[in-house]
């Protein structure tokens, strides 16, 4: 198939960017979206033009590197990551606009690549449990009720891709935060640091310049891992509990 691609080009974080238009012929519908961009880059290389910078790593939907805004939808029209999106989701003759995640907390590095370090700094403020290294404890040493285990597992599916931020009209990372808080807060191992975790992570979130959540719900619809909106309720509940405990 033949496509018109309108792609955001920006030399570096300091210079302004703009949309460039490219025509691409003979795109196979079995290609992934990233393979399609690889083909375009080969053409640009052959012509001696600067290839388009975009991020990817695993290309199997688990690392969270590959986020792109495709026709106004984070990761494009399917419920999956950009690397797992295939060109059969598009039609011959389509015009596709590709932009980087837009959030001041995610500065553009080049073209479609943004720096998602803000999410790492949030994790560093408590998105972990403190344990001693050494031999792993027995798997059955700490019993976990099945419903809690399931819930923690669902939330743990978050890959930190940032699509929720990209899709949120407020530019908030609350779905990401809620996923981490729920994941660790549902498990016995997460209890010791439960209060300080939520207070510090929310503090870092606000410090990074993410917006405030007004429960609009675009995040869940964009999330490739289908993290449900109620993790944000859990986040709010835990935050109020921590403040009540005087943290």
């Amino acid at each position: 198939m033949k496509l018109t691609l309108n792609i955001w080009r920006q030399a570096d974080s300091a210079s302004p960017g703009k949309i460039h238009n490219y025509e691409l012929d003979e795109v196979s519908e079995d290609m992934s979206f990233l393979e399609m961009l690889d083909v375009l880059n080969e053409e640009l290389n052959a012509k001696g033009e600067e290839p388009i910078a975009f991020d990817s790593d695993c290309r199997e939907g688990i690392c969270g590197m590959c986020g792109l805004m495709i026709n106004g939808e984070a990761h494009g029209p399917e419920v999956t990551t950009t690397c797992q999106l295939h060109m059969r989701s598009f039609k011959d003759g389509d015009s596709i606009t590709v932009e980087p995640w837009r959030a001041d907390a995610f500065p553009v590095v080049k073209d479609l690549v943004v720096d998602r370090g803000a999410l790492d700094r949030i994790i560093a403020q408590g998105g972990y449990i403190s344990v001693n290294t050494g031999a792993a404890p027995d798997a059955h040493a700490t019993p976990v009720p099945k419903d809690k285990a399931d819930r923690a597992f669902e939330a743990a599916a978050c890959i930190g891709c940032g699509a929720c931020v990209a899709a949120c009209p407020n530019g908030s990372a609350s779905l990401f935060l809620g996923a981490k808080i729920t994941h660790l807060g549902e498990l016995p191992q997460g209890q010791a640091e439960r209060d300080s975790r939520v207070v510090n992570m929310v503090g870092q979130h606000d410090h990074e310049g993410f917006g405030g959540c007004t429960n609009i719900g675009e995040c869940t619809a964009a999330c490739p891992k289908e993290i449900p909106l109620d993790v944000i309720s859990r986040l709010n509940w835990d935050l109020h509990a921590a403040l009540r405990h005087g943290k």
């Binding site: 026709n71 917006g211 909106l229």
Partner: protein
Amino acid sequence: MLMAVSGVLFIGFVLAHMYGNLKAFGGHDSFNEYAYHLRVIGEPLLPHEGFLWLFRIGLLAAIIVHVGCAVALWRRAGKARTVKYVVTKNKASSVSSRTMRWGGLTILVFIIWHLLNFTIVKVNPNTGDTGSAAGDPYNLLVDTFDVWWMTVIYLVALVALGMHLHHGIWSSAQTLGLTNNDRARRNAKAIGAILAIVVAGGFSLVPIFVLAGVITK
């Protein structure tokens, strides 16, 4: 959180206010008696209009908190994304959720208009009289809604209020941490939708029935 608590206060207020308005169906005396009663609750423990003033101060404080939070959220959102998308698409959000800010402002402007109309200045748009000459509460109400464009303004404001409640009610449940699973979320959304229709519909009855000539002096 302050936003949610002040919002929930408003929900209580609009329900009570709606109940009062529906007394207009009971006729002239029933409505005026209610308006009078509001002014003497708590007497002689409280001075005349004492309860009413406590209530007014509480509501005013809640409005200040609510608008203050709204402004803070609006500014944070503005700063969180200074470079806009070329293409955007709404996949899942309701119109109500995306119009909280402009809808809220509409309600604020309306509240000021409404107070000028019925409480502070008391403008009777039919006779042009103001103050106590505008008539007792019931007559002022009937005269006001006999003017078609006044009824239209009120109905527009009520649509805005209904939409604000549609999203606001479930949103406050979420903000207070009460919707920790699918079912709780669905219930909160359903309650939001039902209360929005009850409030907007309930308030609309009086102006519509006045204009239609069912409620008369």
